[in-house]
């Protein structure tokens, strides 16, 4: 997995590239702990996210809970494979997907 960040003021876009699985999820989780400070507008760009497992979903859920307190969060460019997992777990209803 690779993470690319782009910040403009309090708006942060995080591009997650590759696989968000049990091996890589802790890295994203750690990154978010500090990266989300002072962010009010968080966007996950999943254009190049090929695979997500429960470990990755947990990181998204924690991020969504945090952003609900300090601003908003959305997912963009979600692939069909990843969308299927978000639908299956009800996450699609908890998150803003555009």
């Amino acid at each position: 997995m690779e993470i690319k960040k782009e910040q403009q003021g309090s708006a942060l876009t995080i591009k997650v590239i590759g696989r968000l699985d049990a091996g890589s999820a802790p890295e994203l989780s750690k990154e978010l702990t500090t990266a989300l400070n002072d962010v009010t507008d968080l966007t996950f760009d999943f254009a190049e996210l090929k695979y997500i497992a429960s470990a990755g979903l947990r990181v998204l859920l924690v991020a969504q809970k945090r952003m609900n307190k300090q601003g908003s969060m959305k997912l963009i460019n979600v692939s069909e494979a990843v969308m299927e997992i978000l639908d299956m777990t009800g996450f699609a209803n908890l998150m803003t997907i555009v």
Binding site: A22, L61, T89, N93
Partner: protein, 135 residues
């Protein structure tokens, strides 16, 4: 039946996935099915690696077998760790709102959603989880 035994540690997940993927590709299994099975394998293997022998380390065996007419794959995970039936785990309520939604329980939920049959038994000190998926 083909099998692979590895130390149940996260670093070996890819070895098990590669073992399975190679056999699925040889059977012309679709990309979609292959990905769903990869998810199933990850969730079960990560559970074993995280909890079965904790804080020690032990082996996990993964077996794969194919059936024809209709095409199906049978997968079995075996470990000798703590007696644990994942099918008794409470399913997460996927209709809850964000504040009440908890972060756990998603792994086995995804496994159940992505296989057609699943059964568990504890025999001779071994946890045996069998799964079947048609493709």
């Amino acid at each position: 039946m083909e099998r692979i035994t590895v130390e149940a540690v996260l670093e070996n997940l890819q070895t098990v996935i590669d073992f399975a993927t190679e056999k699925l590709e040889a059977r012309d299994c679709s990309m979609k099915i292959s990905m769903q099975l990869e998810l199933v394998i990850e969730e079960i293997f990560v559970n074993i690696a995280s909890y079965a022998y904790h804080p020690e380390i032990g082996p996990a065996t993964f077996c794969m077998e194919f059936e024809e007419n209709p095409n199906a794959v049978l997968m079995t995970f075996i470990d000798s760790g703590k007696h644990y039936n994942p099918l008794e785990a409470d399913a997460p309520d996927t209709t809850l709102d964000i504040d009440r939604r908890e972060v756990g329980g998603l792994g086995i939920f995804l496994v159940r959603k992505n296989v057609d049959e699943i059964s568990y038994e504890y025999t001779d000190g071994k946890n045996i989880l069998r799964m079947k998926k048609f493709f």
